[in-house]
Amino acid sequence: MDHQHTHSSNPRELQMARSMCWHCQSEVSGEYFCDRCVKVQPVSKETDYFTCFGFPRRLTIDPGKLEAKFYELSRAFHPDFYQNKSETEQSISFGNAATLNSAYRTLRDPIQRVEYLLDLEAGSVKEIRNSPPADLFEEILELQDTLDEYRASDRASDAGQQLRTTLQAEQQTLEERKRDMETQLQQLFTDWDLLQDRGEATSQARSERDRLLKQMRETLSNRTYVKSIINDLVATIG
């Protein structure tokens, strides 16, 4: 099949802002319902997930607040409440609810959240390289050898048992690495939010921004790699 992945929310593909009510043509100011005729308005393609929730573009999000807003907007958009409305309104409700659900799913999970932010700020993260982190290179090569050996071994034998113990220990180490990376990401989240809060437009702030985005991207990439190795390990040793 001929196809390529794109991120469904890529902002560069977004076109034309909505500013007029589709129904009464009066100006709509930001919110989801027309002030004049009270008809629901489609969430603009330009609206990113943070804006959709009325949140600033920050990486630390209070889960309780996010959930409360999700429920509030669900009550506003869900197709259940548009059964007696016009076809246009039903279709807007369907589209808005689908967007809202994607937004919630993305923002709720810290990893998806930062990937989304990277996407917004610096283009697609899907193109992140999938190569082992430099400091883990040797270790992972060795691990692959052990895995191959284990797969070929008689699992019940002493040698097999010993390989299994080695792999279990390796899994522990990698899990720890993954946790370290997540802590590191957490710190980057805080740094990012602080930088945004300062709102400086200096060249120093700009280079700090680029540095943070680069580090987040790198840490994410390393974490993805380590995670796939762990999954591989778990699948092999059970």
Binding site: H3, S8, F81, N84, N101
Partner: protein, 606 residues
């Protein structure tokens, strides 16, 4: 807005409910029972449904359809393993199973439509208004084809299906309405043919499904089969009779197995007796609850794996579940309750009748849709991942399982060859890596303008609506033009076929009405004969001999008419009998009044 009813279209039983003064109620039929057995029989006088059809299971097994829900949205290859269990014959046409009844074949949605029509008429009779809109429940783990088939069934029955809603979540609405519960609940729904587990978070009227899992081919039917197989084997070894070639006896065994299972939910042992053909006597045995439990333990265990997977997907441990709710007839079995209690570590709830709770919840959802209930909102999920086949026969997921619906995903397509004018897209549903291991939903060809390779950019949007049903849109990103897509379902009826079936159903409606009238009249006649015979026994001494003779004559005239096919003739004989028995009725009334007065002081009655 016209009234919307809630319908539980079950494997074994179906019900219809509606909302009255903020409370859901099931609608009873003429016999006061709310349950309509999901059985359709083709008789010489037309099609009959429900209790009357159930009687034909043993009398007329080749032409009596039960458990049709197991065939919804399926091809013949999907059910190959269990064909031997069904006495009626199945074929396939255009990827859809067809059931042969006499000369004609019917698709599962058509058979389901007959059950839906019965419920529709029942609701119309009870509410005194025309019913055209409904919410219909399906197992949460139903795939797109099975949901679409259910929607088709509604259309064929003349119902606009405003929403397909998942059975366990429907049940949670019924419970939520009653208990005003907050917290995390697990709904364990073990019905006649399917098993579902749903984990929900209830907060301020929002019912958010966190995860769902299940098995659409695991239910009470399978338990009955285990028991029936045991009986069959024993009959073979003990009596040297192989009943598997006798469809009517197979049905007797199946029903006896079901009866034993139900009985053992209360009793610790039960006596089984099955009449053998050719005057070979009876097969009898005692079945204990312990024996039953060890026989079906494996089936019960199979429900626990989906439970653990749902918990894992929800990111919860069993002790994070605040309440467990039991739904479906199979949860009446003590062993099921015990295993559920062990898994979740708490006593499960079963305050609402497990046979009715789904229909009640469907009525609540119907009320939400009609704008009656505004404080409750159900946020359900899609049970299975949706994706497309990519290079090398691998499935690429676009919408993951347990994604809140409505959901959408976009995918960009282009060409690899200059001047290529189309791209074939194969939509799949399931959790497996390889396309061939997942459910094929549909195929379509995306039209592409002939351009150099890689230049066209066609964006395809996959949408799953609040019913869990897929639709596809495509637009050319270069021109901004959208294209209409004709999706050919892999296991579904085409729009044209559905239209044809709607037409057919109108054509046959007249025959069906006649058949229905006949059955109802016969039932009335039967009831009158029974009560009159009883009164005659009790009150023989109270009336003159000639009156007795007249009643006897009228009784036998009615019995003869009952055998015939003319409802009007039966009706006339009913009137005759009522007339003849009037003196007896009056005499008995006086007698009982007199006896009631004896032994009482005058002051008591004045």
């Amino acid at each position: 807005m016209a009234r919307i009813v809630g319908i539980d279209l079950g494997t074994t039983n179906s019900l219809v409910a509606y909302m009255e003064n903020g409370r859901p109620r099931v609608i009873p039929g003429r016999n006061e029972r709310a349950i309509v057995p999901s059985v359709v029989a083709m008789t010489d006088n037309g099609l009959i449904v429900g209790d009357a059809a159930k009687e034909h299971l043993t009398r007329n097994p080749e032409r009596t359809v039960y458990s049709v829900k197991r065939f919804m949205g399926k091809g013949l290859a999907d059910v190959q393993g269990e064909l031997a269990y069904f006495p009626y014959s199945l074929t396939e046409q255009g990827g859809v199973i067809r059931i042969k009844l006499g000369e004609k074949t019917y698709s599962p949605p058509q058979i389901s439509a007959m059950i839906l029509k019965e419920l529709k008429q029942r609701a119309e009779a009870h509410l005194g208004e025309s019913i055209t809109k409904a919410v219909i429940t399906v197992p949460a783990y139903f795939n797109d084809s099975q949901r679409q088939a259910t929607k088709d069934a509604g259309m064929i029955a003349g119902l606009e299906v405003l929403r397909i809603i998942n059975e366990p979540t429907a049940a949670s609405l019924a419970y939520g309405l009653q208990e005003k519960t907050q917290g995390t609940i697990a709904v364990y729904d073990f019905g006649g043919g399917t098993f579902d587990i749903s984990i929900l978070k209830l907060k301020n009227g929002i019912f958010e499904v966190l995860a769902t899992n299940g098995d659409t081919h695991l239910g009470g039917d399978d338990i009955d089969r285990r028991i029936a197989d045991l009986f069959l084997t024993e009959i073979r070894s003990r009596h040297g009779v192989d009943l598997s070639s006798h469809p009517d006896h197979m049905q007797t065994i199946r029903l006896e197995a079901e009866r034993a299972k139900i009985g053992l939910s209360d009793a610790l042992k039960i006596q089984v007796s099955i009449e053998l053909p050719d005057n070979k006597g009876h097969f009898t045995r005692e079945l204990t609850r312990d024996q039953l439990e060890s026989l079906i333990m494996e089936i019960i265990e199979r429900t626990l794996t989906p439970c653990r997977m749902a918990l894992k997907d929800a990111g919860l441990s069993p002790d994070a579940i605040d309440e467990v709710v039991l739904v479906g007839g199979s949860t009446r079995m003590p062993i099921v309750r015990q295993r559920v209690q062990e898994l979740f570590g708490k006593t499960p709830h079963c305050e609402i009748n497990p046979d009715e709770v789904v229909a009640l919840g469907a009525a609540v959802q119907a009320d939400i849709l009609s704008g009656g209930t505004t404080d409750m909102l159900l946020l359900d999920v899609t049970p299975l991942s949706l994706g497309i086949e990519t290079m090398g026969g691998v499935m690429s997921s676009l919408i993951r399982r347990n994604t809140t619906i409505p959901a959408s995903a976009k995918e960009m397509f282009t060409t690899y060859v200059d001047g290529q004018t189309g791209v074939d897209i194969h939509i799949l549903q399931g959790e497996r890596e390889l396309a061939k291991d997942n459910r094929s939903l549909a195929k379509f060809r995306l039209k592409v303008p002939p351009l150099p390779a890689g230049v066209p950019r066609i964006e395809v949007t996959f949408l799953i609506d609040a019913n869990g049903i897929l639709s596809v849109k495509a637009s050319d990103m270069r021109t901004g033009l959208s294209q209409s897509i004709e999706v050919k379902p892999s296991y579904g009826l085409s729009d044209h076929e559905v239209e044809q079936m709607i037409e057919d159903s109108f054509k046959f409606a007249k025959d069906d009405v006649n058949a229905r009238k006949l059955i109802e009249t016969r039932l009335d006649a039967g009831a009158l004969i029974t009560t009159t015979e009883k009164s005659l026994g009790d009150g023989l001494h109270l009336i003159a001999e000639e009156d007795v003779a007249a009643i006897r004559a009228a009784l036998s005239a009615l019995a003869t008419a009952q055998e015939g096919n003319d409802p009007r003739a039966i009706r006339a004989r009913i009137a005759d009998l009522e007339q003849s028995a009037q003196r007896l009725t009056v005499a008995m009334l006086n007698d009982s009044l007199k006896r009631g007065l004896q032994g009482k002081k005058v002051s008591d009655i004045t």
